[in-house]
């Protein structure tokens, strides 16, 4: 009886799934095998060196605008590190600025002011529908590279100098004992966050007043203040750029290449972030707003205590992918001569004569940056989602 009713093996799901796995696994293994065999053969024929031993040999090529001091006598490994740091530098600064700008654009877009809202819409639609590379060329080749010569610098209040050699800002620089103040500042921020969390948790547990707001704000000020005094009164001085001879001296200098890449990345990403933020804010239930109004909350309080915390839940996941996009898009810097990971990698491939190892390193670093960013932000996301539920 049972034999008759048995499903034939070719329709049995267990067999089918096992077969599917074996077949797909074999296909992938076969493909990798084939690629591997070809590769080994090519490496053999051309006597390719695949070791990573070259990493401590002197690199011998210059890198423009290195994030850390670099000379051509430094090793390939160090040059690679400079490339990574150059990528991270523009990525981190870009993420911060794009978030700020994007949020502002989103708020303008949602504003009840018709004109402002339409300007924001134009900004968003312009940037979202053109290729980043074209935007990059516009900013670098037609704006920053075409600035006036040093002698005819554009001077903005600050003072900020704009010329062909870059953008020069007035910048606070720590003096020798300034690190004490900096340490105080960092300690203050950390202590303030810690105190806030601990005291608030205790209040929620016990119901007792813990004055967590006051204590943490006090911590935020006390530590830096102590640092200020210990450092001898004035921990930093303003480094003011000034025209001396034919060059601008002092100040914080952004090269035209950095500035072009930065501005293009920030405006482009900000348009996407604005849409993310806007849809997040709009996703907050109307009832929430009405309830907040009924409680008599002011506009600012309503935004910061009701709307934003809830909108964040919706905003964070797409925001993560925007941050990752920005980071990966830094690789377009190759086209305008800002030397980040990919372009340093390409030069290293050429100068060290090792295509495969260097290329693997470049891919690995991008993967690592992506994964770590995604991991950290996903953890944060999970926390946010949990807290607000």
């Amino acid at each position: 009886m049972s034999k008759v009713k048995q499903i034939p093996f070719y329709r049995d799901e267990r067999y089918l799934s096992a077969a599917a796995q074996v077949v797909s696994g074999l296909l992938v293994v076969a493909l990798l095998w084939w690629l591997g065999v070809n590769f080994v053969r090519a490496a053999e024929a051309r006597n390719l060196s695949l070791s990573f031993g070259f990493l401590d040999r002197p690199a011998g090529f210059p890198i423009s605008d290195p994030a850390i001091p670099y000379t051509t006598n430094d090793s390939f490994g160090y040059a690679f590190l400079v490339g990574v740091l150059n990528t991270l530098r523009v990525a981190v600064a870009g993420v911060v600025a794009a978030t700020v700008l994007g949020t502002m654009v989103a708020l303008a877009r949602l504003s009840s002011n018709w004109l402002l809202s339409k300007i924001a819409l134009a900004f968003i639609e312009f940037h979202r529908n053109i290729p980043l590379l074209v935007l990059l060329f516009i900013w670098y080749f037609t704006v920053f590279r075409e600035l006036p010569a040093v002698g005819e610098s554009i001077v903005l209040p600050g003072p900020i100098y704009l010329n062909q050699r870059g953008v020069y800002f007035t910048w606070p620089r720590l003096i020798e004992t300034g690190w004490v103040f900096a340490a105080g500042l960092v300690l203050g921020i950390l202590a303030s966050i810690a105190l806030w969390n601990i005291l608030r948790a205790r209040r929620e547990l016990t119901g007792k007043k813990t004055y967590f707001v006051e204590v943490s704000i006090a911590a935020l000020f006390v530590f830096p203040l102590v640092g200020w005094i210990l450092s001898g009164g004035e921990p930093f001085r303003f480094d003011v750029p000034s025209l001396q001879g034919f060059n601008i001296r002092g100040g914080l200098r952004l090269t035209p290449e950095f500035a072009g890449l930065f501005v293009a990345l920030v405006t482009y990403t900000a348009a996407f972030i604005a849409e993310v933020v806007r849809s997040g804010i709009q996703a907050v239930d109307r009832g929430q707003l009405e309830a907040a109004r009924a409680l008599g909350l002011s506009g600012f309080h309503m935004m910061s205590f009701v709307v934003f915390p809830q909108a964040l839940r919706v905003i964070i996941p797409p925001m993560i992918s925007q941050y990752l996009n920005l980071t990966k898009n830094t690789s377009l810097a190759l086209a305008i001569g800002y030397q980040e990971l990919f372009s340093v990698g390409k030069i290293a491939i050429n100068q060290a004569g090792r295509a495969v190892p260097v290329f693997l390193m470049v891919m690995a670093v991008y993967l690592m940056i992506s994964l770590i960013t995604a991991l950290v932000l996903n953890l944060y996301n999970r926390r946010i989602q949990f807290v607000t539920r």
Partner: protein, 406 residues
């Protein structure tokens, strides 16, 4: 999604009986001192920006590099005596558009009319230009005529919907054959892809990429959600690796490093390699978008299908996928727009796409170097128009499919 929201809100915006323009202005521009201040600042800023731009646009800008090379921008180095093939591809497109317009109307009507009008205007431009030869004018004007003719023919019974769909399916292959030609053929001699350029390459890459990446993306998404650990692991690994690196590294991998992993005599066409890299990159993102849609389908759907006795393939193909795809249409169109814009990157690996042609024109002559801004703005405008049209189309599609309303 977000787009629909505004769309809906905008449609609420005008109150049923507007009490007058003055009230609208007061409410929307001068409500409170902060609002008034913002309005004034933006108005002044806008005035200067627009007036300066207009003066520049009409009086100062030098548009010669764009006016001088319309054919170069369109097809690159494609042999000029073979241009009729590109014309054939366009004519076939006009025919198909006309047929589809008469069958489906809606969005296709707009596309047909706008495209037709654009060609008509181009063909009838009252200026003399070396590229606007009499035969070129006749051709350009024939395109809207073809659309109208096809629209008219399309009403006859023998042109069925099924036939039009079949024609659309055949169309890409037909176009490719016509553009590329056949080795050893006398009529359609082979035109090496190294000669292709400009908008032609941009469209080949983006349309090719879109068509190929879609099924791969769906397969990867299903693979990642699969209960089979091996399949799921392979798909996940592939998706995450590709998504973790920039497109430019993939393009470099395929254009330079790939040769190491192939047999020595195998040599892939460079355009094809760029296409493969774009497709793979885009498929990984597509997979994640589709996966989002798959996750949104309530398990009840699958259970109900099982209860009806459907098998796994049927459930996926008939129940889950159609619903999932409908949900993610906006994201998928967004993905297509991204792919379209990302084709500009191929210029970095030496493929002459639309942007690449612009760059080579700029670099070819010091006089054109002074007109860089004009060239880039022109390029940006073309990309903008196509991307914007795509997003407009996706919004229409959303409404007609009732996304988010069911």
């Amino acid at each position: 999604m977000a787009e629909t929201l505004t769309q809906q809100q905008d449609s609420y915006l005008p109150p049923p009986a507007p009490p007058g323009a003055i009230k609208w202005i007061r409410d929307n521009l001068f409500k409170g001192w902060l609002n008034t201040l913002l309005t004034l600042i933006s108005a002044v800023g806008l005035y200067f920006a627009i007036s300066r731009s207009l003066i520049w646009f009409f009086a100062q800008a030098d548009w010669t590099p764009i006016i001088n090379f319309p054919i170069l921008f369109s097809v690159g180095q494609y042999p000029r005596e073979e241009l009729w093939r590109i014309g054939g591809v366009l004519s076939a497109l006009a025919l198909l558009l006309g047929f589809s317009w008469s069958h489906w109307g809606g969005l296709l009507r707009g596309v047909s009319l706008y495209a037709g009008a654009m060609f008509l205007v181009l063909g009838a431009l009252p200026v003399s230009h070396p590229a606007l030869t009499p035969s070129m004018r006749v051709f350009l004007i024939s395109l809207p005529a073809t659309i109208l003719l096809a629209f008219w023919i399309g009403r006859w019974r023998f042109v069925s919907k099924r036939m039009v769909m079949a024609l659309w399916l055949v169309y890409p292959f037909f176009s490719l054959l016509l553009i590329r030609g056949l080795a050893g053929s006398a009529v359609l001699e082979l035109v090496s892809t190294t000669l292709w350029g400009g908008l032609l390459v941009t469209f080949v890459l983006s349309i090719g990429g879109i068509v190929i990446c879609f099924p791969i993306g769906v397969a990867l998404a299903l693979g990642r959600r699969s209960k089979l650990p091996v399949v799921s692991a392979i798909s996940t690994f592939f998706i995450e690796t590709i998504r973790g690196v920039p497109l430019i590294t993939l393009l470099f991998l395929f254009s330079v490093v790939l040769a190491l992993f192939l047999p020595p005599d195998a040599r892939l066409d460079r355009l094809l390699r760029a296409l493969i890299a774009m497709t793979i990159f885009s498929a990984a993102y597509m997979a994640e978008n589709v996966r989002g849609g798959l996750q949104a389908i309530p398990p009840g759907q699958e259970e109900a299908a099982k209860a009806l006795g459907m098998n796994g393939v049927q459930i996926t193909a008939l129940i889950v996928l159609p619903q999932a795809l409908r949900i993610v249409i906006p994201t998928i169109v967004g993905q297509f727009i991204t792919l379209f814009k990302d084709t500009t990157l191929v210029y970095i690996v030496g493929v002459n796409d639309f942007l690449g042609i612009g760059r080579s024109i700029v670099n070819s002559n010091p006089a054109y170097l002074q007109a860089q801004l004009e060239v880039y703005l022109f390029i940006a405008a073309i990309y903008w128009i196509f991307s914007y049209l795509m997003s407009l189309a996706s919004r229409r599609l959303e409404t007609s499919l009732g996304v988010g309303k069911r």
